[in-house]
Amino acid sequence: MANSLFEEKLNSDVFLVTTEIGPPKGADVSEMVHHMDLLKDKVDAINVTDHQSSVMRFPSLGGCLLVKERGGEPILQITCRDRNRLAIQADLLLAYSRDIKNVLCLTGDSIDVGDHKEAKPVFDLDSVQLLRMAREMESGKDMGGNELRGVPQFCLGASVHPEADFIEPQLIKFEKKVIAGAQFFQTQGIFDLENLRRFMQYASQFNVKILAGIIVLASARMARYMNDNVPGIIVSQAIIDELANVEKGKGLQKGVEIAARLMKTIREENLCHGVHIMAVGNERIVPDILEAAQPVSTHR
């Protein structure tokens, strides 16, 4: 029996579409709620990011509660950067108690890339250990071996990096995550479908669902900036050139076009099980992408 609506869809053959919303830097959640309303019926689940790029923001757990409130299906993102194992276990209990059962388990970006560079990095666990820990909680015990009163159940996911320039260590890690309990993967941004194909040749031997990450770029400059500064992003030169060749002001439009094109190809050629759209601040144009990539699976 599936633990959540999202898990139900995972277990079926439907082409999955998820997206993510970045919380605000501050207590004013009105815009975030607005995005949630815009997207909740158009996608299968919404991720709320957790201090993405180590920039301090409104927490993922709080965002997921809001998604639930607005009637959407949330995916909680937990990183190991800011909390030790006690805090993470506690957050998982809270999430489960409020019916938030989809959890994306991440190691987290390093403190240095963010805006609180002097903070203490925790990293009590890494993503693999976090997956294992969540699974162990499902069997009724915490990490200390103590019995839990009220045992949680989760639908667990993790990330993977098919476009990494040195792929073998990433595949080893991928396998470890699968063994540790990941059911679905949202990949880092895909720009070159060849890499995705190659990765899927390896990944399809495992009984997990892969959602290809699609980043919406707004300009060549943004692409280059992300290349240099954001961990896990490698934008191909072809895409950068494509963005550079449009007239001023039409960058985002181009970005939308590229995203839709990728999504369409993935779906038509059945390259993987779905996509995860990352609009990085431009959440409002996600519906446009979905439209442009018709026919696309919509919320059922």
Partner: protein, 227 residues
């Protein structure tokens, strides 16, 4: 060995400001090797402080210098017993251990630090020192082909790499190699890649609670009946 870096002269000047007679105390072991607090550095600092004093005109300080073989053992400090009576403060260029041992040995006189003790590491070449060991107390170099993931991976994770590695370098510092790529390559060379496929559970941080202590001395029972 222990690698340290001398504090900026202005910081040192601020710290010694209230004291008239200051003994600049060097250490002949680790901080000599890394060029932070040996006899030469003591002499250089002395010169620099005197220049600062001469230029500013308010010359209340008088400096003396001495370098002991090590500051982290009491026996080496006996030779200072008379000297400390003639000064108002000691500026130690030894590592954090040295400063504290000197302070414990001479509790009636302020002992101030002159270096920032940074890490335990090695010299890659003259003038370049890299951190290698975090003293985690739970060494697992057998599993990672002799490359420490705690010190050389920014996040210190045990099931690496993370997604931030690019061109074999770390997301946090593009001059630093990604430790897990190094580990992968060396395990491959040793034909021991299965070590990387293993699941490594979270670290036991219990060895870390400060301050740590290691006891080599064994309590033996010297009962009357036994020889």
């Amino acid at each position: 060995m222990i690698v340290a870096e001398q504090k900026p002269v202005e910081e040192i000047r601020r710290v010694i400001a209230p004291y008239e007679r200051v003994l600049l105390l060097g250490c002949g072991t680790c901080v000599t090797v890394c060029g932070a607090g040996g006899e030469r550095e003591v002499s250089f600092l002395n010169s620099a402080l005197r220049v600062a004093q001469a230029r500013s005109g308010d010359g209340i300080h008088s400096f003396s210098e001495y370098t002991v073989k090590r500051q982290c053992d009491f026996e080496f400090l006996d030779v200072l017993a008379d000297k400390v009576n003639e000064v108002d403060a000691i500026l130690s260029l030894g590592c954090g251990i040295g400063v504290q041992v000197v302070a414990e040995r001479f509790p009636d006189i302020p002992v101030l630090p002159g270096v920032n003790t940074s890490f335990m590491g090695m010299a890659k070449e003259w003038g370049v020192w890299d951190e290698r060991c975090a003293a985690c107390g739970d060494c697992r170099l057998a599993e990672t082909a002799g490359i420490c993931p705690i010190t050389r991976c920014t996040k210190g994770i045990l099931n690496g790499p993370c997604a931030g590695t690019k061109n074999g370098k770390c997301e946090a510092n593009k001059d630093m190699d990604c430790a897990w790529i190094l580990i992968y390559k060396r395990l491959e060379r040793l034909q021991q890649l299965e070590k990387m496929r293993r699941y490594y559970p979270p670290r036991n941080f219990r060895v870390i609670p400060r301050p740590r202590r290691i006891v080599k001395k064994i309590d033996v029972d010297l009962g009357e009946d036994n020889g």
